[in-house]
Symmetry: C2
Subunit: 145 residues, 2 copies
């Protein structure tokens, strides 16, 4: 499965790429570089920080993964769905967790200035997740952090 995805795009099948793809596919939420790194370490996939960045770059470049800009300034990655389905995301401003909103497809109807071209739309809802919601409204993280 993962091997297939890689060879189909003319890439070499390497330990890191396989593990990254499988981890992304298994996750139900977008993962940051850092989270991915820890998860790879847990399943004993030795890897360098830079290698991981490059593996992710390659996956995004070939449409296997997608890059999402969270509210903080770290990219998050999710496996691209085969059907090209896109969806919006929810970012908890307290703990930084990002979840997918499967049923909310970013749509828009607008007039851009002449000559502009839109490639994709990114819709991010900001707020507080269930574990953070009861607490204060901002600036005071309540989750594990």
């Amino acid at each position: 499965m993962a091997r297939e995805l890689i060879t189909r795009h003319g890439g070499r099948v390497t330990r890191t790429r396989i593990a990254v793809i499988e981890t992304l596919l298994a996750s139900d939420q977008p993962l940051s570089h850092d989270e991915l790194g820890s998860m790879l370490a847990e399943i004993d996939i030795p890897h360098d920080r830079v290698t991981l960045y490059r593996a992710l770059d390659w996956l995004v470049e070939h449409g296997i993964a997608r890059r999402i800009a969270g509210g903080d300034r770290a990219w998050r990655f999710e496996a691209a769905r085969a059907d090209g389905h896109r969806h919006a995301h929810f970012h908890c401003d307290h703990c930084g967790q990002v979840i997918c909103l499967e049923h909310l497809e970013p749509s828009f109807s607008t007039v851009l200035p002449d000559g502009y071209r839109v490639d994709r739309a990114e819709l991010i809802l900001h707020g507080a997740c269930a574990s953070c919601s009861p607490q204060r409204s901002a600036n005071e993280p309540c989750c594990p952090h």
Copy 2:
């Protein structure tokens, strides 16, 4: 005008804050920290990098300015409109320019999991601006950079 905005929120009127507010109000597009810094330097407002960050933080905290996550990982800032109007933004993936789409209000109707609270929605269209559009699709910046 700027002085008023500041005192109304119990802040001290300082060179940097006034200049930042006036620059944001005069700009028709969100500005990054870096762009703001250069603009202040041009009109001979001496300031420290950190001071600028803190001035911007203060403005956002008091609802005078708004923070927007561009596609790259630098914040951009725009003057908050008095009527509370919000709008979507367009981010050029080539040159990084961000423009406001006044007529596109980020709206959504969705069901979030129980306990989640939405504070605001951020809608960012990604693509290529007029000066970059004729060129290649990605990764090859064509603008001044």
